[in-house]
């Protein structure tokens, strides 16, 4: 059978989800953000929720997320996504409401909003892209930057005496009574992509069942900020990020 005979709609097994439009995404080649966008689009399509989903875009590289997924969006000031999501979900409780936030957004400037929304148990899903760096602004150190990790503001590597300890905010969120589901995943292999999809789907379903706040951290790469190829970034992430941010469920009520 020739390639041209195989390429036939009847034999289709995978295509770009329709919720993701044709606008080219601005992310650097190989950036984890794209994979997670794609999963969110697939899930919304499978749940048939395109008309009922409101995403809250952050400040950070994902600030333009609203350009790529054809759902309703709000774009929050830096770190304020969980506060805005609180308002949106309370005003429109029949909608699926999620935030999409980087580690600088969620764990630095937005720490208060994140912790209080989760502690109140707002019925939202928080998708947390932890690439250990401020990607958008040129690779500055984030609270999540690893000890020894180089960034543009820790050129010789982060040290605890000077910069303090890395913040495992996901572990902290799991301690709060308002969270119902807290998990840490990744998107660097086929298996991990499938697991992350299941996790985000569960978080979305929890939001619709008013179970409280769900947090899905995706340990991610920022190959531009890390100054590695996409492939080498994945290897570096497995070797260095996973020991500090181990994958798996931290809470599942």
């Amino acid at each position: 059978m020739t390639v041209n005979e195989i390429i036939n709609p009847a034999n289709l097994v995978y295509e770009k989800p329709k919720v993701m439009n044709d606008t080219p995404m601005h992310y650097c080649p190989g950036c984890s953000h794209g994979v997670v966008h794609k999963l969110i689009a697939e899930i919304i399509e499978e749940m048939d929720f395109q008309e009922k989903t409101i995403g809250i875009a952050p400040v950070g590289c994902a600030v333009f997320a609203y350009k790529y997924l054809d759902i309703d969006w709000q774009q929050a000031a830096h770190g304020r996504a969980p506060a805005l999501a609180t308002a949106v979900k309370r005003l429109l409780p029949d909608r699926l409401v999620f935030t999409y936030q980087g580690d600088g957004d969620l764990a630095a400037i937005g720490t208060a909003e994140t912790i209080h929304a989760a502690n109140r148990g707002e019925n939202i899903a928080i998708i947390f892209i932890n690439n250990g760096i401020y990607g958008m602004t040129g690779g500055q150190m984030a609270p999540t930057t690893l000890v020894g990790m180089k960034s543009s503001t820790s050129p010789n590597g982060r040290t605890v005496p000077l910069n303090g300890n890395p913040l495992d905010i996901t572990k902290l969120l799991a301690q709060l009574d308002g969270t119902c589901y807290v998990t840490r995943q990744s998107v660097h292999t086929v298996g991990s992509v499938r697991k992350t999809k299941k996790a985000i789907r569960k978080a979305f379903e929890n939001s619709m069942m008013n179970k409280g706040t769900s947090v899905v951290e995706v340990v991610s790469t920022c190959n531009s900020g890390w100054k590695l190829t996409p492939e080498a970034s994945n290897d570096w992430m497995v070797e260095n990020m996973f020991p500090a941010y181990p994958l798996g469920d931290l809470k599942d009520l």
Binding site: I6, L12, Y14, M25, S32, V35
Partner: protein, 74 residues
Amino acid sequence: MAKVKGAVVVNIERCKGCNLCVVACPSQVLELSIEANSKGYNFSTMVVPDSCVGCAACALVCPDACITVYKVRL
């Protein structure tokens, strides 16, 4: 034994040549082309189409949703 055969179509203009699909393919079907797209990226292309099993590994890891996958049971 049931045999499967697959094929992929890469959206060349959307591809950013990140190489992640090439690494993810268990059958070494893909490589980056010598040619570049209009943005200057060397796009992913099937170099050993006969080996494709339609597993969609390449498509799942692609950050830019460039790959469409087809599969038939022979």
